[in-house]
């Protein structure tokens, strides 16, 4: 489906409650350093848009649940008895305790540990000990857990605290096309999110992490150590194409609407064979040989190509980042603390050699690259928090070079090193925050 051309993000004007935080090509340090602004974001930004909370394959059976957060609010993501989904605010309607305190499990109802009020996994309150003390007039519905809006797109589950949000597919805008492309890589085999996750804690603002996911400028510099080791050993592999003038390369940054963006490296990474470009991972020869044995060289290569990193960073505002074959979920904790959960994926029904290969490949970037990114995030946080004299953060790359154009798929594209990503998502940030302020 071709995308609707989006109006270009215009130079922000200093209007509205938050206008003072923006000027053309710059955003204010308070966005990263102010605890008050962080609290406002948790309340108004994360409270007024679709937030990613999990994948359907994490709760496959009736009554499965996982604990998640929506802008710090504890929530329970449940598969109800009838197979439907519910997202409940994990806050007892009595005195506020968490009614669920286990990260995952299977339960038809939750009993609060404090005074034993009991709730079904659709939120209905079914038990209040000694309830005569509330008199005869009380309304049971008052005591139900608050259930918030939930919807899923091809397995990806989103929740919204506010009911005043557009339908999920409308919210996803152009990100939907790219999610489809990501999901359809190996034809019919569904993606499973049942393979554990890595929880990176970074002492930085959540947007510093979000900024980086769309930053096609940093890889050759921040990731020198990784690129150098693999180039020394294996030659022209992985992201070595970053060694050249990468703004002249076919790599690109795209505006997908509503603050969503992508960095697309596929034109370089997948030009021939993704697997052949991929440096050696543990077990590579043995697992490849086993697949070739069983399926023949051509089919083995097709499966391996479809399971090598996707070559795509797909950034779905505000907290879902699809990077390679991983699903990253951002959990803001404090103005200067964020948990980045990297969920691994496998393919349902794929040969065990494919899934083992996927897992080994998904350990690669986190330990050779993400750790260095994290160090940069913490370094930025330090500079932004502790130097009040310098107030502005530069997001000008390719703002005025005229290098952007509408691509054949209808989406606006700029060279890979552009700050397009930041300009796009800050547009969405302002719209949602201002609408909430006006309400």
């Amino acid at each position: 489906m071709p995308g609707t051309p989006m109006p270009r993000p215009t130079a922000p004007v200093s209007a509205g409650r938050y206008g003072h935080l923006f000027r053309p090509g710059y955003v204010h340090r308070d966005l990263y350093a102010s605890p008050e602004l962080f609290a406002a974001e948790m309340r108004h930004l994360f409270g007024n848009t679709w937030v990613y909370v999990g994948h359907e394959s994490e709760i496959p059976q009736p009554n499965d649940f996982v604990m998640r957060t929506v802008g710090r609010r504890p929530v329970i993501l449940c598969r109800k008895e009838d197979g439907g989904l519910s997202v409940l605010l994990n806050r007892c309607t009595h005195r506020g305790a968490l009614v669920c305190r286990t990260p995952r499990g299977n339960a038809r109802h939750f009993t609060c540990g404090y005074h034993a009020w009991t709730f079904l996994n659709d939120g209905r309150c079914t038990g209040v000990p000694l309830k005569h003390a509330y008199g005869s007039e009380y309304d049971r519905a008052d005591q139900n857990l608050r259930s918030i809006a939930v919807d899923a797109y091809r397995g990806f589950i989103f929740a919204s605290v506010s009911p005043h949000v557009p339908p999920l597919v409308e919210h996803l805008a152009g990100a939907r096309d790219f999610l489809d492309q990501w999901l359809d890589r190996d034809g019919a085999r569904p993606v499973l999110v049942q393979n554990g996750d890595m929880q990176f804690q970074t002492h930085a603002n959540w947007k510093t992490v979000y900024d980086n996911a769309g930053d096609g400028y940093h890889p050759p510099f921040s990731h020198t150590s990784m690129l150098r080791v693999f180039a020394d050993r294996y030659g022209d592999v992985d992201m070595q194409y970053y060694a050249k003038n990468f703004d002249e390369s076919p790599l690109l940054s795209k505006d997908l609407g509503r603050g969503h963006t992508t960095l697309d490296q596929r034109p370089a990474m997948h030009a021939e064979s993704a697997w052949r470009r991929q440096h050696v991972s543990p077990g590579r020869e043995a697992l490849e040989a086993a697949l070739v044995d069983r399926y023949g060289a051509e089919e083995a290569l097709r499966m391996l190509d479809a399971s090598t990193g996707s070559g795509l960073n797909l950034n779905i505002f505000p907290n879902l980042l699809i990077i390679g074959n991983q699903i990253q979920m951002l959990e803001p904790v404090a103005v200067n603390r964020t948990v980045v959960r990297w969920f691994s994926t496998t393919l349902d029904g794929a040969p065990p050699e494919i899934n083992a290969t996927r897992l080994r490949l998904q350990e690669d970037f986190p330990s050779f690259g993400e750790v260095d990114d994290t160090a940069q995030f913490e370094s930025c946080q330090h500079g932004l928090e502790d130097v009040p004299e310098l107030e502005w953060v530069d997001i000008r790359r390719h703002m005025d070079t005229g290098a952007g154009r509408t691509d054949t798929d209808g989406y606006w594209r700029e060279p890979i090193s552009s700050d397009l990503h930041l300009r796009c998502y800050y547009g969405a940030w302002r719209r949602i925050m201002e609408e909430a302020a006006a309400r």
């Binding site: 890595m198 929880q199 948990v339 899934n355 897992l359 750790v371």
Partner: protein, 200 residues
């Protein structure tokens, strides 16, 4: 980084096949279900002492950031493994923080030696404490060693600890040992982790 670099064709290639994973999964199950060490698996006093000496040496190399020497303690068919779970999950099905074969372990050490590994600039200082060391025989040439660890760290002004248990498979090498498996099981591996890009 000198001699540890550029082992372009390691002697053992791609030995992480499905059977190898099966062996690792069985090893973890054995360790998790272990009761008191059965009498027939008790090592000689001499082996027990030399294993302890060896583990203390290994920890000392890490604390001194002598990584090329540390790497030389590992066999060509080694595993350096940090799971993300605390339930003994099968590495064919669950992602790890690190699941390194010999090549990947060399690459890890090489990366840290480039001078551009920003996660370790400045480097994390560590003090490794190994305690509760238990040694079990495993055939003629190998032993298993289990221990708990506490790693005191300091990174750029932030002091913090890592803790958990290690499982080692050691192979006899003359009067000392080489590491076939080092499995570092952080007691909170499934929860948010700070910068663990130093060598545990």
């Amino acid at each position: 980084m000198s001699d540890a670099r550029r082992t372009l064709v390691p002697p053992t290639r791609g030995y992480f096949d499905l059977d190898h994973y099966g062996t690792l999964a069985a090893l973890v199950q054995e360790w998790r279900s272990l009761g008191e060490i059965p009498p027939e698996r008790l090592p000689t006093a001499e082996d027990h002492a030399s294993v302890c000496r060896f583990l203390h040496y290994e920890a000392r190399l890490l604390d001194a950031a002598r990584l090329p020497e540390w790497l030389a303690l590992f066999t060509d068919d080694c595993v350096y493994w940090l799971p993300t779970d605390v339930d003994g999950a099968d590495p064919r099905k669950v992602v790890s923080w690190e699941m390194n074969d010999r090549r990947r372990l060399e690459e890890r050490v090489e990366r840290l030696g480039t001078g551009r590994a920003y996660s370790q600039a400045p480097p994390t200082r560590t003090t490794h404490l190994y305690a509760n060391i238990e040694v079990l025989t495993a055939g003629v040439t190998e032993v298993h060693a289990l221990c708990t660890f506490l790693i005191q760290t300091h990174l750029a002004g932030r002091v913090s600890q890592r803790s958990g248990s290690n499982g080692f498979v050691l192979r006899r090498a003359g009067r000392s040992w080489q590491i076939v498996v080092k499995r570092v099981s952080l007691f909170d591996a499934d929860l948010p982790q700070d910068n663990n890009s130093f060598t545990l």
